[in-house]
Symmetry: C2
Subunit: 129 residues, 2 copies
């Protein structure tokens, strides 16, 4: 079973979830350079979605420099992914920033946010143990 998962009820498109999922797996080290990804067809079967959706995700990953694909061979993690992933982190930090601003506009106190932040941080630890 692969490490890639998807939430059909989410508002974010499936192909985008896959893109993010693979990026995260690379960043955490679960996937390293030249590791093979599941084939388009097998991953489609496993996630019970259309192969075209997987292909779309893989295409995006390739144009982002995260993976490379060899016809008749498979798809693999790129050798140099750091730049692309740094960009991904910047994206997420930007999201965090605008969320913060909206919360502040809503009258949320700095302490309130800090509390939520620490809570999530600790909650994340629990899952990793």
């Amino acid at each position: 079973m692969s490490l890639i998962y998807v939430d059909g009820r989410s508002r974010t498109p499936i192909y985008e979830q896959i893109v993010n999922c693979v990026k995260n797996l690379v960043y955490t080290g679960d996937l390293k350079a030249d590791d093979a990804l599941p084939s388009v067809r097998s991953l489609a079967a496993e996630l019970a979605i259309n192969p075209n959706t997987i292909q779309k995700a893989y295409n995006l990953l390739e144009s982002d420099g995260i993976i490379y694909s060899l016809p008749a061979r498979g798809s693999f993690i790129s050798g140099n992914t750091s730049a692309a992933l740094e960009a991904r982190k910047k994206e997420l930090l930007a999201e965090l920033g605008s969320l913060m601003k909206e919360l502040k506009r809503l009258g949320c106190s700095s302490d309130e946010i800090r509390t939520e932040m620490d809570l999530s941080w600790r909650d994340c630890d629990d899952k990793n143990e």
Copy 2:
């Protein structure tokens, strides 16, 4: 000119942006109980979008208890909006939480996040001056 604005390039639907915008204005005190909202038609004209989109947003706001509408009169801020807005804050805090978790999975350090957080906080101050 009204305080309500919209970003046509955003992925979040226009009607949802309007809903959030009004909620924020109430929370910050820019809109108080029984204040009149722009009429469906005038706001549509001002934002250069379809009246039906405004109506959809107003309907959602009404079912959320944020506003009330009187036929042939207009739409106005509700008297008791605290419960609904507390819920909105909870929503945003939950978003913040999952964003935090993803950043942590990406290997983002607690300090890195704290820095971004402080930066956004200060940036928000600047705009309000």
